[in-house]
Amino acid sequence: MTRVAFAIVLHELQERSRDRWVLVVTGLFTLLATGISAYGVATEDYSAIVTGPSLVTMATFLVPLVALVLGHEAIVGERERHTLGLLLSLPVHRSEVLLAKYTGRLLALGLSLALGLGLSCLFLGPGQRQVVLGLISPTLLLGAAFLSVGVWISTACTRTATAACIALATWFLLVFIYDLALLASLVATDGALSQDTITWAVSLNPAGLYRMTLMAELIGVSSLQELGLTVALPGTIKSVAIWVGWVTIPLAAGSYQLSREGSGR
């Protein structure tokens, strides 16, 4: 990493630590995670099947929103403040500027998640504590995927308000509408869609893959089947490929877009 890129990473981290939105979301995430942990402890015998899965459900909704909002103004914000030209005129390649901005914001997201999940562990016994701490990495991966999409949106837009609207629509589409659309297609086809097709469709969405993988890990596939939920997880290679794709493809698209900016016709 070049000196300029490193400086941008540090600057992003510093800037986010003073960002009211990041502070509010970190507080909210910590509050909800701590509340869920406290409730899990109160249920005593059911703690194992309440705490982890409830945190996963909460993170599936909240983390994509936080990541998209964190990423949506990375580039367009600089453009509106007239500082993008200043950044791009520094002796650094444009793709490095984008990557450094992404890395700085990902570090800020990681710190927020670690703080939220870490504090929620205060109520838990050693066994459950390990489970919750084990959620930090996959949850950060979920955030990394949506942050990448957010940064791409930011590169493509010329106004922060437009980027914010697209980011919110993306969150709504991938976190709410996507599952409903799958359900609707199952009903519409009268169950003709195969289990494999549904599994693939769910796992192509990072929010679905995150929830499906962690639920199966925390509760066990057999327990889910007892609840009437048939889970056929994609293999490790397929899962890795999906995660890598969600993190790298939007970033690559954003980087290409930024490299073309100002190239005339």
């Binding site: 600057h11 403040r81 200043l86 791009l88 520094l90 002796p91 100002g262």
Partner: protein, 248 residues
């Protein structure tokens, strides 16, 4: 250092933002690009800054090619440039000192230079305040500080006088004098010719992407054929500065 643009063309779709612009820019001079909105001034600055790639033509620095069709100015040239964008705002959450420190870290400038520049800008008392609380003029002064932080060989400024009070303008004139005295290059785009003209070495007038006239302020006056007017006495800005000096 001599910067030369040769038959420079920049097109955005059907819009020709620069149309066959050829001009020399010499070191030790303050070169002013002026003209109405959309005349192509900022586009030319963008080409020099490596933000815009020419559609046709080329830019050379001491005969060395730095920008040509589809190619942005390279990193080695951008190392020698300081830039003040138009109406720069910076992140509202950061303090003035943090903004300058970021650019200092990115360009390997010492902390003591950051403190010196903050003092020179007259922002030492506001350095720990968020930029969001700064007036427009203070932000512009901070932008000036970012531009001169590395004491670059080439200083490029887009509408540098915008929002500056008399104290800010004095700093700007100081920079012009220091840079030209040291044989460095200053290139600015400006609408406010009345403010700039006495500091300008060369003025290039653009309209609709074309270079219409070039020369020193005196040469342009003669070219225009307008009747000459003689002014007796100092300008009001000089009177203002003299009053401030007396008060100190």
């Amino acid at each position: 250092m001599k910067i030369t643009t040769d038959s420079l063309v920049v097109e955005y779709g059907k819009l020709r933002a620069l149309d066959c612009v050829s001009l020399p820019i010499h070191s030790g001079e303050v070169t002013v690009l002026t003209g109405p909105n959309g005349a192509g001034k900022s586009t030319l600055l963008g080409v020099l800054l490596g933000l815009i790639a020419p559609t046709q033509g080329e830019v050379r620095v001491d005969e060395r090619l730095i920008a040509a069709q589809g190619h942005f100015a390279p990193v080695w040239f951008r190392r020698q440039i300081g830039f003040l964008p138009e109406a720069v705002a910076f992140s509202e959450n950061m303090t003035g000192r943090q903004v300058l420190s970021f650019f200092a870290r990115a360009r390997a400038v010492s902390k003591s230079r950051v403190e010196y520049v903050l003092g020179w800008l007259g922002l030492e008392n506001a350095a720990s305040r968020r930029v969001g609380t700064y007036s427009r003029g203070m932000r512009q002064r901070l932008g000036l500080g970012v531009a001169v932080l590395t004491e670059p060989d080439v200083l490029i400024m887009d509408e540098p006088t915008g929002g500056l009070d008399q104290q800010g303008l004095s700093l700007l004139w100081e920079v012009f004098a220091e840079w030209t005295h040291a044989g460095r290059t200053v290139i600015i785009s400006s609408h406010e010719l009345s403010l700039i003209e006495r500091r300008a070495s060369k003025i290039h007038i653009f309209t609709a992407g074309e270079l219409r006239a070039s020369g020193t302020p005196t040469q342009l006056r003669v070219q225009s054929g307008l009747p000459m007017e003689m002014r007796v006495g100092p300008g009001l800005d000089e009177v203002y500065e003299a009053i401030l000096r007396e008060k100190r």
